[in-house]
Symmetry: C2
Subunit: 610 residues, 2 copies
């Protein structure tokens, strides 16, 4: 360019693009990029070894410009320095395998980061020394929301203090311009300290009160306001008029209005109940009685085979409907061959209650019309959830509708019960579903978040009864419309079974040829920065994923997808871990996609033929 | 409810629901609501007279609880009071026809509002006096972003000072709880001053720097940052590394990655050009040479008939392709019967340039591959825009490819030229389209906004060359997926022709039986608060819509939709009006839907059979 005379190589971070890393590298090369930044999450989810990625990039004429991000390093309490350096060495190993020279270190956001630039400089100098021994280097970037270091002038000052040839700066236009920092001071930075430049534009955000009000309101009970307290005060002051909803919401504005109006009325009834207006009461459901699946023709043999291999046995047939009962211990799965519901999905969740009739009366009062017994003899009292699946109210005697042919076998694969049911929702039913399960089953939101899946952003929310006997994990692809470019990615649903020994469960199921999902080595290589080798090797050997929170640990594994829409999970909760392993969902999704592509190879499958 | 003993009526504002008001009333009634708040925009867009809405509500058992909103009234400069009261009387007329007693007045946001609560109280007292004469009343609401009045305690104080029985408060949970106001002070408000209560929940917003960074970054040139200035400084400081894009964006994360990578590379090339790196130069397009339509079989006779009735004549046929040339003055429309492109849409936009080959070279350098001359003899040099339509580069002699059978007739219906081409975009092509037209045609963003259409939120952006000879108006349905519940609503595209006398144009076209779109009386009744009767009557008689901005006025009218995907607009710009009448788009959309439903009545058409 005229400013400098020579053209700079052009690069793109893998996070910019959709897909798995195989898709991304191919797209970057075809568009003429000279290099890529490899985002760690893309590496973790792929089955390609780092050496294969390196080779693929070389074949495509792509340089790997940067490995990113390494987080929460500088100005840590000194007692953590050694562990942080070990963590870095782990990444340096990986970088050598990838053939990338520069690692991005972004400024720390950890709450216990120390506000001391000399300490930051000293620690970064040590990191640079470690990198330099391997011929690597470190580019330090000030995040706009860094705990203490959040401007490029401060990061530049720290780099100058550290004064090590393997330590330089990464400048990101977003982190600088989003804060309104003056880019004029860039002139003061020595050119040889500018290790890397990341470019991004952005619209000025408009999320003020007005935007919040006009786009993101929700019906009562779907958001964060204390509306019970508010309403009590207004009524106590003597208000005599109607209770009127005024909700501006982008999703509701385009949703089928009859459905939205019912959701609205349900929210109002629930709010009124919270301040004392009576609704029919119903005892809380005590447990999941059974889950009902509707296997499609192609999926059915495989699904039955997997259930059997997991230790379930066919124990009965419905007296009037083509429905099979499969049991193991207290876990029951129905295969419903007579349903008009869409195939290859979870079509029903039956909860056991001491008073199904009361539950149905309550549901009906909350505008969830109860199906006529005639239509669903298999499930005398049921209502439709917003996603179309049934919630069935059973008493302890629900087996009377079945010809029982065998007793339920005891657990043969270390599975102990149902941990949760995971239901992917249509994008515009998410808030309605939360309200539905809350008002009708008494479940409360326990976990709420979002994550970047390989094919777009996913929002997740888990609901549970207080005793954790009935748990539902909802998820929704926030923007995804159809599956235009990645036909191998529908939105499958699954049942998660609990175990107290996931390795024994995995061994038992593998011995029975359950098609367990393979998790890539890169995932475990990355986990190696956190776990000791013996534990890591065991996880790797059994394709078990790992998560932890403040209260405990979580081990889980998955089966392959059956009929593109249903799979199973086995989970072990250690201590009081209360999540759902959501951080691992992107890895699982990429693995499921590989599994599907491996079974249906073809020129149309992205990444398969490359 | 227990707090007060009696059940309150339950209401819902029409803004909560999707559709036209007919759909909304029906949905509210079926869900069991007792009443509705009528939002003004819903009334303006319907062809139902207020009396018919009143009757419909009565038939459905719905009370009309509130008419809303009336804006920017209180504490206005005293010279505007009389006009504001006239405006209010206009709404009172409407309320009497609807049979609604209470009008919502929200606190003023006008910049010249005076910070004087006594003045606010005095003016509101006068408004209440006017309302009381008709048996009506006024509920005053503090918007969270009101210019001076933005808390309920302040609005309550003003109402107390005004001390008029027809003036009370409206409390909206959003406006109170979003600001974190303490609802405890509600106890101090006399119950008889609580005229209305609006309930809404909301999630706590998370639009901090981190959310902005992780979800809403854009490629250079698609956002608001000065990246040229930034990049110059980094290069001047001596940076020697690659230019690397790091863009976290929810839409890109799920878009086809090869397309996104090309968009990314185009953004980088354009940024480099802005700091002096050469790209092939091309002269700016001088005007729209022609617009090409691909009529489907069903649409074709009707479309040709409309063109003829609008004054166009068939003047030639392409020498090698089944393509007709229709002309009038300097306006040309091609009907392309030989294209493989989707039917019933604008398939091409031809721009005239002194050097088509240079334009093509530039487009090619910007990764818009030029079609081979073989494939498109009708348009030797063309590229595909992100939405799949063609941009064709013509010289002044483009007619040589046609057998000319007649000279272009002079304008016969007062149409003078093409004002703009309106292209609805696939939802994930919007930012890419902006960059495409900017980098390849040199058009700049002139107008950027969003509006609530009857079936969801629409984002709009207009691009123009500096001389306003080539204008493109892009729009996109932000969340809409498919057309599940409203099959009569595709995303039609249109050509807008300019006139200097829209009434003469309307008369000429009506005389020729052009199917012009009927605009409902409610629209003009509402305009009556702003325009004098003679002008208003003329607009109404000709179904002409009206807009104005700081610099001028805008008159426009529409034809019916042809083949569900194409229609025409006629626009008259008065003074230096620079917009596109976007405020009227929801009215146009509702009218087009009525037109379509009137031609294809059926039980499946929402609102048609009610």
């Amino acid at each position: 360019m005229s400013d400098t005379g020579t053209r700079r190589p052009r690069g793109i971070a893998t996070v910019c693009l959709s897909g798995t890393i195989e898709d991304k590298l191919d797209a970057a090369a075809r568009a003429g990029f000279d290099g890529v930044e490899i985002f760690e999450d893309d590496l973790i989810a792929t089955s390609w070894a780092p050496e294969r990625i390196r080779q693929r990039c070389a074949d495509l004429g792509l340089n790997i410009d940067l490995y990113q991000p390494f987080r929460d390093f500088e100005a840590a309490p000194p007692r953590r320095l050694a562990a942080n350096l070990r963590r870095a060495e782990h990444k340096f190993d990986l970088m050598e395998r990838l053939g990338v020279v520069t690692m991005l270190v972004c400024s720390s956001v950890a709450p216990d980061t120390i506000d001391d630039d000399d300490l930051a400089a000293a620690q970064l100098r040590q990191l640079a020394e470690h990198a330099a021994r391997r011929g690597l280097r470190v580019a330090y970037e000030a995040l706009a929301w860094g705990r203490h270091v959040n401007t490029y002038t401060r990061s530049a000052d720290i780099v100058a203090r550290a004064d090590h040839p393997a330590l330089g700066l990464c400048l990101d236009s977003f982190h600088i311009l989003s804060r309104g920092s003056d880019p004029g001071d860039i002139a003061d930075i020595p050119g040889d300290k500018l290790f890397f430049l990341q470019l991004a534009d952005a619209p000025r955000p408009r999320m003020d009160l007005l935007q919040w009000s006009r786009h993101h309101r929700l019906f009562p009970g779907q958001g964060d306001f204390d509306l019970s307290g508010f309403l009590r005060r207004v009524l106590a002051a003597g208000y005599q008029g109607p209770l009127s909803l005024e909700v501006f919401n982008d999703v509701f504005r385009q949703a089928e209005p009859h459905r939205a109006a019912i959701d609205a009325m349900r929210s109002l009834l629930t709010l009124e109940e919270s301040i004392g207006a009576p609704l029919p009461e119903a005892p809380a459901p005590s447990e999941v009685a059974f889950t009902s699946l509707t296997p499609g023709e192609n999926c059915r043999p495989e699904l039955a085979q997997t259930l059997a291999a997991m230790g379930f046995a066919l124990t009965g047939r419905h007296r009037r409907q083509p429905v099979e009962l499969w049991e193991q211990g207290t876990m029951r799965v129905l295969l419903d061959d007579g349903s008009d519901d869409p195939h290859d999905r979870i079509s029903g969740l039956a909860v056991e209650t001491t008073d199904p009739a009361a539950a149905a009366r309550r549901a009906e009062a909350l505008l969830a019309p109860v199906s006529s017994p005639e239509a669903t003899a298999a499930a005398p009292l049921s209502v439709r959830a917003p996603d179309g699946s049934r919630v069935i109210f059973c008493d302890a005697d629900w087996r009377r509708d079945f010809h029982l042919t065998a007793p339920a076998p005891p657990s043969r694969t270390h599975l102990l019960g149902v941990d949760h049911i995971a239901l992917t929702q249509p994008f515009d039913h998410f808030d309605a579903a939360t309200l539905f399960y809350h008002s009708i089953l008494g479940l409360n939101t326990e976990d709420d978040g979002e994550y970047a899946a390989p094919f777009g952003l996913v929002r997740s929310r888990a609901l549970s009864d207080p005793r954790h006997r009935v748990r539902i994990a909802l998820s929704v692809a926030l923007l995804r419309r159809g599956a235009e470019w990645s036909p191998g990615v529908p939105a499958p649903q699954h049942i998660a079974f609990a175990t107290d020994d996931i390795f024994a469960a995995a061994e038992a199921m593998r011995a029975n040829a359950v098609p367990l999902l393979s998790i890539p080595d890169n995932y475990y290589d990355d986990l190696g920065a956190r776990l000791a080798p013996p534990q890591l090797d065991r996880l790797r050997a059994h394709h078990v994923l790992y998560d932890r929170d403040r209260r405990g640990e979580f081990l889980h594994l998955y089966t392959a997808v059956h009929g593109n829409r249903v799979f199973f999970e086995v989970v072990q909760r250690i201590g009081d871990y209360s999540g759902y392993g959501t951080a691992n969902a992107p890895v699982r999704m990429a693995a499921h996609r590989r599994y599907r592509l491996s079974r249906t190879p073809g020129p149309g499958s992205p990444g398969s033929a490359r």
